[in-house]
Symmetry: none
Subunit: 528 residues, 2 copies
């Protein structure tokens, strides 16, 4: 069991993702969650490049983390300056963290063509900066940017950059595959060679996913001798992203038996992934390894049958180890098994050949013939079961709705929905505009219900899919609408089917709202 240190850079490298833009309070939320997970290091940002980042460091200085160490990130001094006179280096010191990560060039191409300094001057920029920070009591990590590309072009020089940092006092030197194109076989060979030549140094690995190998490259680097792994939650990062810690941590703990401080919290991993995706306003990937909502979904009939005999047959780990859940997608193939399982989830023990099971099975089959597809809409399936098994309550009655889309002669476009619902005997008749007919209807429904059920305020719709079932009928075809909703705790899919896209969307919207309200009530019951 070797100790491996997890270094999270979601807040710095992850923030480079197209579409992500963290506020200071977003960063605080994520930092607290990472602290809860127990990663060893949290890279908080680059205080020299961003005033927001400095604010973040100052706030966390007051609040303090329980488990993780906060790290400030920055570059070496610039050419021709001394570290003490370089504002970027000084901002790093001002961040007030015990740990600092400095990145510098290790590829001679970059030194010559991008920095445009001599190879020697670059080595001095590294050692001067590391030495300056160490003297101020900082513990310093050195990120050797483009290390693997550099090593392939000029191994001797790349090694010299590591030595420059080490001899100046760096605690760990981190080899970065900055462009993300290095093959796993090269990572394995190069890390082993470096290990041999810097016997006493602690080595780290930082990979990007441009060739789809970032996770394998990180784990392989640990096998070859690295003791620090840098990555991000959900693999966020520029271009194709950084190495995904949500995939790396379980492989280290469960396959390599590495000692990781967050190994104790492995069961929280799925929730952490979902939480960070929420705060980042990014949809969590359904097929994300270990933590995705489909990661343990079984669709093929032969697989489901085998799984019932022995779960190991089609699962590489028990999903609960990482806080995820097994799903049997209820398609025609899956038959009664899926229904029994879903009923179990709402604490109804049905018998395989019981009357209720048969009735439900027929109902689901009939709906599937009609175009429903429950495999990807577990929340709607749950509602069908609840209704049939008497574990459902109605939260409102629809009296009617009307949706109008009008394109006027001046080209202006108006979408308006009016809706009339009845909640516990109280009529609510209201209207709302929207960016389109479904959005208008969604807005009107929430407006009508919000006074009665304020908890609807913390859910939102995160995805919306439309599938034409019988495409040959063209615009008269039946459509299947899937809606994904999420709140802080969970995400769920509902569906509706109709020749009328508005009606199909309406069904999915209503299921989504009812599911949320039922879940909240179930949880209250458990907590009481």
């Amino acid at each position: 069991m070797s100790r491996v240190f997890i270094y999270d850079t979601t807040l710095r490298d992850g923030a480079q993702t197209e579409g992500i833009s963290y506020s200071v309070s977003d960063k605080l939320l994520i930092a607290r969650k990472l602290d809860f997970l127990g990663v060893d290091f949290i890279e908080g940002g680059w205080p020299g490049s961003n005033p927001k980042d400095l604010e973040f460091f100052h706030k966390l200085k007051v609040e303090k983390l329980k488990t993780s160490r906060l790290v400030a990130f920055g570059s070496t001094r610039r050419k021709g300056r001394t570290p003490s006179k370089d504002p970027i280096v000084r901002a790093l010191v001002d961040a007030g963290t015990e740990y600092i990560t400095i990145f510098g060039k290790s590829w001679d191409l970059h030194v010559n063509q991008v920095l445009k300094v001599s190879l020697d001057e670059n080595l001095k920029m590294i050692s001067d900066t590391v030495r300056y920070l160490c003297k101020r009591g900082k513990r310093v990590f050195f990120d050797a940017e483009h290390f693997f590309d550099g090593y392939r072009d000029n191994a001797e020089y790349a090694l010299k950059t590591l030595e420059a940092a080490l001899s100046a006092g760096a605690e760990t030197v981190v080899m970065c595959d900055t462009n993300g194109g290095t093959l796993t076989s090269d990572i394995s060979r190069i890390v082993a060679e470096v290990k041999q030549q810097t016997t006493k140094a602690k080595l780290g690995i930082h990979t990007h996913n441009d060739n789809g190998m970032a996770v394998a490259n990180s784990v392989t680097a640990v096998q070859a001798g690295c003791v620090q792994v840098q990555g991000t939650i959900n693999g966020y990062g520029e271009r194709c992203g950084n190495a995904d810690l949500c995939a790396i941590i379980p492989s280290l703990v469960l396959r390599l038996n590495s000692e990781c401080s967050c190994g104790k919290r492995l069961r929280e991993l799925t929730e952490v992934s979902r939480y960070v995706s929420e705060v980042s306003n990014m949809k969590q990937q359904d097929n994300q390894p270990y933590v995705g909502s489909s990661a343990f979904s079984h669709k093929a009939g032969v697989h489901i049958n085998a799984m019932l005999k022995t779960p190991r047959s089609y699962e590489h780990i028990d999903p609960e180890t990482v806080g995820n859940k097994r799903k049997f997608l209820s398609s025609e193939l899956a038959g009664k098994t899926g229904i029994l399982q879903k009923a179990g989830e709402i604490s109804c023990q049905l018998e395989k050949d019981g009357k209720n099971t048969k009735k439900l099975h027929q109902l689901v089959q009939r709906m599937e013939l009609d175009g429903y597809q429950f495999e990807a809409a577990g929340a709607s399936l749950e509602l069908v079961l609840r209704k049939s098994l008497g574990r459902y309550r109605k939260f409102f009655n629809l009296e009617g709705f009307r949706v109008i889309v009008e394109r006027r002669s001046d080209g202006r476009l108006i979408s308006e929905a009016t809706i009339k619902v009845n909640v516990n005997g109280v009529d609510e008749h209201t209207a709302s505009e929207g960016d389109g007919p479904v959005n208008a209807l969604d807005n009107a429904l929430r407006k009508a219900l919000m006074d009665f059920y304020p908890e609807l305020g913390d859910m939102h719709l995160s995805d919306f899919k439309v599938r034409v079932i019988d495409s040959k009928a063209g615009t008269a075809a039946k459509v299947r609408v899937f809606i994904e909703s999420q709140d802080k705790k969970r995400s769920w899919w509902t569906l509706g089917v109709s020749e009328n896209i508005i009606q199909a969307s309406w069904q999915a919207l209503v299921d989504s709202v009812e599911y949320k309200l039922l879940q909240e009530r179930e949880e209250k019951k458990i907590n009481e």
Copy 2:
């Protein structure tokens, strides 16, 4: 340069993705695209388990592929049957392909606990089935399911299953990491060991992505001696998906210098990925290695500055090698080739650096930033070009439309569209009901135009797809509507983009009608 064979299983294993459900015509579209890309083998489906799959094989028997070989997939005979009496094996023969892939168990755990037959009987099931098919003139691949798990538990037996297939005539034996949990280091070691013990055999690799290593595992297996790689476009597949061929192919061609039949079409890879995601009605992952829309997006300022000095500084390959584009956040540098080509199709010879080309290029880029995606909607792109190059005429003016969907208190649903158009100075104001709002609008538009353009009577809409572009905005998200239309001679795709699904559908409907009317006039001119 070693030859590596690419084996695509998008249509079989990829179809197991949660949310994917291919019709026969979807499968035909994808098969033609794979044939265009030039993959060596296309696994079309499992004719024994699915009547739709048999129909697909029969259709492709008539149509014939240009480059790729079609493969039917199925299991070994069941216990206690002879292959000739097993309907599943016979359905395989009936599929009429030259190549057949048979999967069988190689993990003793599965033989004992799932199949519940003796280890010897399992070997016979494999060899009997392979021999039976070879005698019928088939060329047979053997997929050794769970090979790596099996090898870890009982290497001797796992090897015996490969030998059973080889001695019965299998051309290639494929080692499958069915549960997707094998580490790259184990793949490398086990493939090398198998290679040593089956010196003359051709070996293949089939991996799943449950630990995030499928791509690295596939490429590593080739380095260790495999000559066939199985995977899917975009990594579709059950749970966390199969190995993504869009990442594997470029690494094989560009990094290992492997000889791949689709190496010649590498520049089409991004388009193929996008096309398959459209037909599958799945959003393409922005950060997908090589082909994702963010795969070469640069956001960090220091990166962009360095990129301007030398592109190699932050890119592992030139994006054009795989048909992708570099993005500097706001300023896109799109290729002009597509525009020149489309202009050629309407007999306009544009010059690469001409003023018109530049103008069109900017226009198309602007529209793409807005969410248009012309790859799958050639007719709409043609209309954009025609409008800009003065090769367009207007057939009608829209004065306005209004669409109403009303759900009354008795549950009845009404969809009605009113439309006012002007054709050659004549106003036409009409209304129509429909099965939904888009159908009502479609009906009303045709009704309004039919008297003026009776040729519209022989076209109909054959497919209708809706894709949410920015799914995070939920029901307020921008949607992209694709409409496929056909008449006796041709089929064509058009698109519209708007936050309002009715407006997006309207654009696609209008493009569809205008394209039809323009084509008819062009043809008349040629015939005259």
